[in-house]
């Protein structure tokens, strides 16, 4: 008897089991963790909006980090492409809206987001073709080399990017001509939150689609996917481009909400950090990436205020513990907790 048949026969033998199985499914296991985190994040956002005036700016940072983390999770966690240079797309998005605003007078925010996404996607398409030709270490190196190259360009092109001093003089028009960016960060918070919700919605739909499943298939067994007729290179390139576009949008949001772009948006440490966030939350799980982004940004805000050197120590320690003892990340722990609770309940 196969697993599915057994489950069916068991649920058939309990009256009412079929009706409650969905709820049970939601209360435990993978979906349970996802649902719990979704509810938690939603409540957290609402509470911040209503009562946490002092945290609106931080909240928009969290939302931006979440979008960036999602873009990396789609690539690393789902498609299994490890990158150490994803900040290049984040930074490119940020510089795109920054330069468009400071030099060309393109101050409209929504079209700016779109522009940043398109520009980042174009770079993703060009570098993706090259990066995906290699595997393993070569791939890591190429992503790093491209990111370092763009960092150098931004550093040297001082008249355009402001170099190490950062890009000054950005102006962003009110969103839809109605909502001006205010000093409390309310507009920024709501704006980034709205984009985040849209991105999460898209990402959830995509990962549940046959396309998303095929990415996981490629990650798990590339040869087999090829053998059953999947165009592996095509799938990988398309997710690379999409991930680049999302990262670009996240970067653009940062530039728009802070009205400033610094060279650090392209730095290697950002590429490393975002990978850490994804692993911290749980690679290959969208809600894990979101949780990781939240926890990381809050910790960083608290700890790096004390001392940057200590921050590095705690970050390293946390990461080592996660890698060695909880390879499924925080969301794995949430899952385990929920299944323990569930077992107790059913006893």
């Amino acid at each position: 008897m196969s697993g599915i048949e057994r489950v069916k026969s068991i649920s058939a033998s309990y009256p009412g089991a079929a009706a409650s199985s969905t709820w049970r499914g939601l209360a435990m296991g993978r979906t349970g963790g996802d649902l719990a985190i979704a509810v938690l994040l939603g409540l957290g956002a609402l509470a911040t909006l209503l009562f946490g005036e002092a945290y609106w700016l931080l909240g928009s940072q969290v939302a931006i980090t979440m979008i960036f983390a999602l873009s990396v999770d789609l690539l690393v966690g789902f498609a299994g492409i490890v990158t150490l240079g994803h900040a290049v797309f984040f930074g490119l998005g940020a510089y795109t809206v920054g330069i468009a605003s400071a030099h060309l007078g393109w101050t409209e925010p929504l079209s700016g987001l779109l522009l940043a996404g398109v520009v980042a996607a174009l770079l993703g398409a060009v570098t993706g073709v090259l990066v995906l030709r290699t595997r393993g270490l070569g791939q890591l190196m190429l992503t790093m080399a491209f990111a370092s190259l763009v960092y150098e360009i931004a550093n040297r092109a001082k008249p355009v990017t402001g170099g190490a001093d950062g890009l000054q003089g950005m102006v962003i028009a009110p969103i839809l001509g109605l909502f001006e960016f205010d000093i409390f960060g309310l507009t920024a918070f709501l704006y980034t939150l709205a984009v985040l919700v849209a991105v999460v919605g898209l990402a959830v739909l995509m990962t549940r689609s046959p396309y998303g499943r095929s990415l996981v298939g490629i990650r798990e067994n590339r040869v087999r996917m090829q053998a059953i007729g999947t165009n592996v290179q095509h799938r990988l390139l398309s997710i690379y481009v999409m991930s680049a576009a999302l990262a670009g949008i996240a970067g653009a949001l940062l530039a728009q909400t802070s009205q400033f772009v610094g060279l650090n948006v392209l730095h290697f440490s950002l590429s490393g950090e975002i990978l850490i966030i994804v692993a911290l939350g749980g690679a290959g799980r969208l809600w894990g990436a979101l949780l990781g982004a939240l926890v990381f940004t809050l910790f960083k805000d608290r700890l790096s205020a004390l001392d940057p050197a200590y921050w590095y120590f705690w970050l390293g320690l946390l990461l080592a513990v996660i890698v060695l003892f909880a390879p499924k990340g925080l969301i794995g722990l949430v899952d385990r907790l929920l299944s323990i609770l569930h077992r107790k309940e059913s006893l």
Partner: protein, 288 residues
């Protein structure tokens, strides 16, 4: 004209040798154990700090400090390998990368706490602090020593890997680990030894190269791209590949910065991208 060419060549060679000494161990461990160790540079920095402490605080001669750096860092490498790295062999790349980043970050915090954020310079013996005249061009003699050290380490590694039983086992395990195990090579011990050797040489490189790649807490992060480039371009598991890669990158970088300073590090990355696209396994890679 000739003076400029000689200067570029000389300083390029010295830079290349530092890159080589630090990176060669990384290539061997990556080729042998398939472990992507991004914390390799932190071991080199540790070697640099050992030399600084030995020459500045303990007043030991430079010639004692260098072997000490090798031994201390190799021991540290062996301990780290036995305790944690071992559990990650065969784990997916992401976990290895993340773990070594974790190690790197903790090392940065540790170095900052112990030695402060500023650059540290070891004390160089008087015999090496002068200039050597070559025709009418003068070169710092310390850099000549660095070049000699790089060549000496290449020769020593070539003898060790190519001519000893240990080396034979390492080569066998790089080529085909299962087969090597099947014919009785104790890969557990071999891995620890190789990891210790690789990190030890990196420590030596950190100490020798402190004049060129300055010793700061973030050493392992700042120069990581360079080390990885040398390994990726040179090919994993090879000792000559990284040597040629380091030569190529060192001379190209120095020439680029000397002749066209406004382009900065473009040349390095351009060359690397071109080589990796033409030969994804590196110039002399056993495998990618």
């Amino acid at each position: 004209m000739i003076t400029a060419a000689l200067t570029i060549l000389f300083h390029g060679l010295a830079f290349a040798m530092v890159l080589y000494i630090v990176s060669v161990g990384l290539g061997i461990t990556m080729g042998l154990m398939n472990f992507a160790n991004l914390a390799h540079g932190a071991f080199a920095a540790a070697g640099g700090y050992v030399v600084v402490v030995a020459t500045r605080s303990l007043g030991l001669p430079f010639w004692v400090a260098l072997p000490a750096a090798f031994v201390v860092v190799a021991l540290a490498g062996a301990v780290v390998e036995r305790l944690v790295v071992r559990t990650l062999y065969g784990a997916d790349e992401l976990r290895q990368v993340l773990f070594s980043i974790a190690l790197l970050f903790m090392a940065i915090a540790g170095f900052t706490a112990a030695f402060g954020p500023l650059q540290q310079q070891p004390e160089i013996p008087a015999a090496l602090s002068g200039q050597i005249a070559l025709g009418d061009v003068e070169f710092p003699s310390y850099r000549a020593f660095v070049i000699a050290a790089g060549v000496a380490i290449l020769a020593a590694l070539w003898l060790l890997i190519g001519r000893t039983r240990i080396g034979m086992r390492i080569r066998a395990a790089v080529d085909n680990r299962n087969m090597a195990e099947a014919i009785g090579v104790d890969t557990r011990t071999l891995f620890t030894l190789t990891f210790a050797l690789g990190t030890g040489i990196a420590g030596l490189g950190g100490g020798i190269g402190a004049d060129i790649l300055s010793i700061t807490p973030t050493y392992g992060q700042e120069y990581l791209v360079l080390f990885l480039i040398v390994v990726a371009v040179g090919g994993l598991g090879s000792i000559f590949g990284p040597f040629l890669a380091a030569l190529c990158i060192g001379v190209v970088d120095v020439a680029g910065k000397y002749l066209l300073p406004e382009f900065g590090a473009f040349f390095i990355y351009g060359v690397v991208i071109a080589i990796l696209l033409a030969k994804p396994a590196g110039l002399f890679g056993v495998r990618s």
